[in-house]
C-alpha cells in the first residue's frame, strides 16, 4: 500500500509536472506550483494530523493501529474481512506519505521538463511536425526522467525513515515505530538492525536506479 501510494504520487507528480512545464506561466502552472510548494513545505506529521482531523473523523476511517481491536472477538473473521480491515488502516498513513512526496516530485519534474523543453532536439521534433504528446512523452520526458529516477530511488530508500513520523502519528507498527521504541529504550542492537536495513534499502534502490538508467539513457554503457 505504501508502495502503491508512492507510485500514485509519482504518477500524479510526473503528470502535473509535465503539464505545468508545458503550460508554463498559465494559471494551471502556478496553481500546481503553489500546491506542490505548500505540500513540500508542510511538516509530514502535521499533514498526518490534518488528515486525521479532516478526513478520518468525517469519513469514520480508522486513524490508529494496523487492525481493529474488536475484530475477531465475537466471531472468527473471514480473510476478506481481515484484508479489508488492514486496507482501511493503511489508507490514511499511506495518503499522508503520498501527499508529501507528490509536492517534491511535481516540483522536480517541472524544473527538469522546463530544462529539456528548451533543448534543440525538442525544437527539431517540433519542426518535424510531431504531435504535442509525442514530443512530450517520447522526446522530452524520457530525458527529463533521468534526474527524477535518482530522486525516486533515493526517496524510496529513505522512505523507511520518512515513515517514522507518519507511523508515530498513526501508531502504525512498522519499522518507524520500532525505531522510536528502540531509541526510547536505548535498545542499540535493534537500532543497529534498523540501520542495516535502511542502508541495504538505499543501496538496493540505487542499484535499481542505475539499472533504469541503462534503459532510459543509451549513452550509459560502461
Amino acid at each position: 500500500m505504501v508502495v502503491a501510494w508512492t507510485l500514485i504520487s509519482i504518477v500524479i507528480g510526473i503528470i502535473s509536472g509535465v503539464i505545468a512545464a508545458w503550460r508554463r506561466g498559465t494559471a494551471a502552472d502556478s496553481l500546481n506550483l503553489w500546491t506542490a510548494l505548500a505540500f513540500y513545505a508542510m511538516p509530514t506529521q502535521w499533514i498526518g494530523l490534518l488528515v486525521v482531523f479532516y478526513i478520518a473523523i468525517p469519513l469514520g476511517l480508522p486513524a490508529s493501529g494496523i487492525s481493529s481491536n474488536t475484530l475477531g472477538i465475537l466471531s472468527t473473521p473471514s480473510e476478506w474481512q481481515i484484508i479489508w480491515d488492514r486496507t482501511t488502516h493503511l489508507f490514511l498513513p499511506a495518503l499522508t506519505l503520498g501527499i508529501g512526496l507528490y509536492g517534491e516530485y511535481s516540483l522536480v519534474v517541472r524544473s527538469s521538463m522546463l530544462e529539456t523543453l528548451g533543448e534543440d532536439y525538442v525544437l527539431t521534433a517540433r519542426a518535424k511536425g510531431l504531435r504535442n504528446w509525442a514530443i512530450v512523452w517520447r522526446h522530452a520526458l524520457r530525458n527529463a526522467m533521468l534526474p527524477l529516477v535518482t530522486l525516486i530511488a533515493l526517496s524510496l530508500g529513505t522512505i523507511v525513515a520518512g515513515a517514522i513520523v507518519v507511523e508515530d502519528v498513526f501508531s502504525y507498527p512498522g519499522i518507524g515505530l520500532a525505531t522510536i521504541d528502540a531509541i526510547a529504550h536505548r535498545d542499540y542492537p535493534v537500532l543497529q538492525g534498523i540501520f542495516l536495513l535502511l542502508t541495504l534499502s538505499v543501496i538496493v534502490c540505487n542499484y535499481i536506479a542505475d539499472l533504469i538508467y541503462f534503459k532510459l539513457d543509451p549513452r550509459v554503457t560502461t
Binding site: M42, P43, Q45, F53, L114, L123, I164, I183, V202
Partner: protein, 315 residues
C-alpha cells in the same frame, strides 16, 4: 504553435551590474519581497515574544481545550495554556534553531567548498568523498539517534542539524570557487605573490559570499523543518516550546478527539509559512546569482520565436 511560442520564450536576462546587481534582480521578483517580509515578520515576532505574549506560557489560564474567544484568540491547549502565547513563544526556538543551524551548515559547507574548490587535486577528492558520505546518510534517523545519544538541548539540536545539512552548500561553493579561481584577476594576484590565505580570503570569498548567503537562506527552511521532526519525536529540549513541540503536544494531548483545531493548525501553519518564505527568498537570490542559471548553454535556452504561417524561426 502558439503554445510552443509561449513555451520556449524566455525573457532575456537583464545585464548584471557589479554592484547592487543581485538586489536589483532579487527585488524585481515579487516572491523575494514577500519571502523577505515574512521572514522579517517572524524574526521580529521571535525577538519581541515576551512583549507580545498576552499570557504566560507556563500557567493555566482557563479550562482545557477552551475554544477561541475574545480573550484567547487561538483558544487553549491541553494544559489550559493560551495557544497564541505558545505559538509566539515557539517562534523563538524555531527561528533560533533555523538560523543558527543554517549558520553552522554555512560555516562547514562554505569552508569545505572553498578549500576543496581552491586547492583541487587530492584535497578536493578527499573532501568531496566526505561530502558524498554525508549526502547519502539518511538524515532523519541520524538526527534522531544523535539527539538521543548526545542529550536533549537546544545547542545539540542546532549542531546536529547543521552537521547534516552542509553538503549541498559545499558542492555549490566548490563549483563556484573552481570557476572564480581561474579568473584573470585571481591569477594576477597569484603572480604578484599573494599567498593562499590572501587569495582565498581577499579575492575568492567575496565573489562567492552572496551565493553562500542565498544557499544559507535555503538551509534555514530545511533546518526549521528538521527541528519539527526532532521535537515531534520527543527529542527536543524539554524545557522549551517550539512549533515542533506544539504539534507533538496536539497529538499526545488528544487535540484531535477534542476537535480542537486551534491546537493543531497554528503551529504547523507557521512552520509551512516560514519554510515557504525562506524557500522563495533563497530561490530568488540564487536565481539572481547562480551563473549556471544564466549562462545560455547551462540553463533553459533563450529562443525567441514567432509563428510564421505555421513555421518557426529562431533568432
Amino acid at each position: 504553435v502558439s503554445e510552443l511560442v509561449q513555451l520556449v520564450e524566455v525573457p532575456p536576462a537583464e545585464p548584471v551590474k557589479r554592484r547592487g546587481g543581485m538586489l536589483d534582480v532579487m527585488f524585481g521578483q515579487k516572491v523575494a519581497i514577500v519571502g523577505a517580509a515574512v521572514l522579517v515578520f517572524f524574526i521580529v515576532l521571535a525577538i519581541a515574544a515576551p512583549l507580545l505574549e498576552p499570557y504566560s506560557t507556563t500557567r493555566q489560564v482557563g479550562p482545557v481545550y477552551a475554544g477561541p474567544n475574545a480573550k484567547h484568540l487561538l483558544g487553549l491547549d491541553d494544559g489550559g495554556i493560551d495557544m497564541l502565547s505558545e505559538v509566539i513563544d515557539g517562534a523563538r526556538v524555531s527561528m533560533i534553531v533555523g538560523f543558527a543551524a543554517a549558520a553552522v551548515a554555512m560555516l562547514i559547507g562554505g569552508g569545505i567548498g572553498l578549500l576543496s574548490g581552491y586547492f583541487g587535486g587530492k584535497t578536493d577528492v578527499v573532501l568531496m568523498r566526505i561530502t558524498d558520505y554525508f549526502l547519502v546518510i539518511p538524515d532523519v534517523p541520524l538526527m534522531i539517534v544523535a539527539a538521543a545519544v548526545f542529550g536533549r538541548s537546544l545547542l545539540n539540536i542546532i549542531l546536529i542539524i547543521g552537521v547534516i545539512y552542509w553538503t549541498s552548500t559545499a558542492r555549490l561553493i566548490r563549483a563556484q570557487v573552481k570557476s572564480v579561481r581561474e579568473r584573470v584577476y585571481v591569477k594576477r594576484a597569484r603572480a604578484l605573490g599573494g599567498g593562499h590565505r590572501r587569495l582565498l580570503w581577499n579575492h575568492i570569498t567575496p565573489q562567492v559570499a552572496p551565493l553562500l548567503v542565498a544557499n544559507t537562506v535555503l538551509t534555514i527552511a530545511t533546518a526549521v523543518f528538521a527541528e519539527t521532526y526532532i521535537s515531534f519525536l520527543g527529542l527536543g529540549d524539554p524545557s522549551t516550546i517550539s512549533w515542533g513541540r506544539l504539534i507533538q503536544n496536539s497529538l499526545t494531548g488528544g487535540a484531535v478527539f477534542h476537535k480542537a483545531w486551534w491546537a493543531i493548525i497554528p503551529p504547523g501553519l507557521c512552520v509551512t509559512i516560514v519554510i515557504l518564505a525562506a524557500t522563495m527568498l533563497g530561490q530568488a537570490m540564487e536565481d539572481a546569482l547562480n551563473p549556471r542559471l544564466r549562462v545560455g548553454h547551462l540553463a533553459v535556452r533563450r529562443f525567441r520565436m514567432r509563428p510564421l504561417g505555421g513555421r518557426l524561426e529562431s533568432e
